[in-house]
Amino acid sequence: MTSDYAIIGGGIVGLSTAWGLLKRGLRVTVLDGDDGSFRASRGNFGLVWVQSKGMKQPRYAQWSQDSAAAWAAFSAELNDATGRDVGLEQKGGYDLHFSEESLEATVAKYEVLKETLGGNYPFEVLGHNALRREEPAIGPKVVGAILHHQDGHANPLKLLQALADDVRRLGGVIMNGMHVTAVDKSDLFRITCADKTEVRARKVVLSAGLGAMTLGPMMGFKAPIRPQRGQVLITEKLPKLINRPSLIARQVDEGGIQIGATNEEVGLDDTVTQRGLSGLAAEAIAAFPALAKAQLVRSWGALRILSPDGLPIYQESPDMPGAYLVTCHSGITLAAAHARFLPDWLEGADTAPNLEVFSENRFAIS
């Protein structure tokens, strides 16, 4: 079978890119892993998030903003096509602070970024009382918050399902349980899997998350990515307690309160630790004391896919033109950008976004 694009990796990044390409009338085959694969797409926190991103690289802040701005139409289109509501809510989000110092320091950084971005960085600072009017459940230890109006959240699992559904509906082929073992190129790319399945395509997108650590170098990429563990907690379903999401806690559309997340450099270990659970629980209770009585029903560890500077990588292979590495740790936030704008870049269209700063050239050759 021959496709215009073969996409290695059927998570949110791969599927949103596939969806965008299919919308342009291209033929797409997605090769997805199995039930046991590391899957950031089903372990992430579900924020559609702008604030704090790109503090050192304003282009990344912009790229996140562009995606956040495109999310509403993206989600509406998915909803119309599949009948699935992916639970998008963009009413703003908080960065909660437990000390005046940290709040002021962060605000100072945001002011600088705001100026760099020509003023498009709509945030406001809420003192404790103002915050309490917005979030009656907030605890006394929270001195204030930065409310950023471009922030929001969605239900990442519903997004995953809607994309899987609509990619198929649009004629995309999704092959599950595939372990890609080799990628080579003559006229066309040939992707070979462990079970001897072969897929041929004009172009290839490598969006295999941590799978790119091994596949990337085989395809001429540096792929300098590493796993970073994030432990996440979720409570039983509760009546409405939290109105807007923060990096500490958000109430998901089904009612559970999701609490996150650790940042741990532990390699490919995605286990959950008592230490991690207890630390996250303590922080969440400090923010929302009523959570002390909530039952934790599940927790998990998921592995973020991080580049050395934390920014996404968009790179065409110098050795295999037509092969692209697409990887990031904000697959939910950037889903709309990957669906709407990235296909133009992959196709070399005039309207392609400038993704130069996200190339691998920024990393020294090791």
Partner: protein
């Protein structure tokens, strides 16, 4: 016409103490398994699910299924894993709705 309740104590023992379930006063045997005592008292359902609002009651009686959840002191707990104590105030777990603006 049936008058007997579905659950019956065959060897009633123990002192009865007063508790409330959903604001209704009940006399239950002190120290008895709470789910069992509520069943004998004719309580059903124990809760409505947060997903569809469907009624539920004890299913496994061994702490595994979580269908006998009730709310005591603001916490959702398994009735089958508790014992009756004097003055327990029990309600069905609160589901859905908005607690604030």
């Amino acid at each position: 016409m049936k008058t007997a309740l579905p659950f019956r104590e065959i060897d009633p023992v123990g002192n009865k103490v007063s508790i409330t379930f959903g604001g209704i006063d009940l006399m239950l045997p002190l120290g008895e398994n709470l789910a069992g005592a509520l069943l004998v008292a004719g309580v059903m359902p124990f809760r409505n699910t947060p997903v569809s609002g469907a009624p539920r009651g004890p299913f496994c009686m061994m702490g595994a299924c979580y269908d006998c959840l009730v709310q005591i002191d603001g916490m959702n707990v398994q009735a089958c894993m508790l014992q009756v104590s004097e003055g327990m105030e029990i309600t069905m777990p609160v589901v859905g709705g908005t607690a604030d603006a």
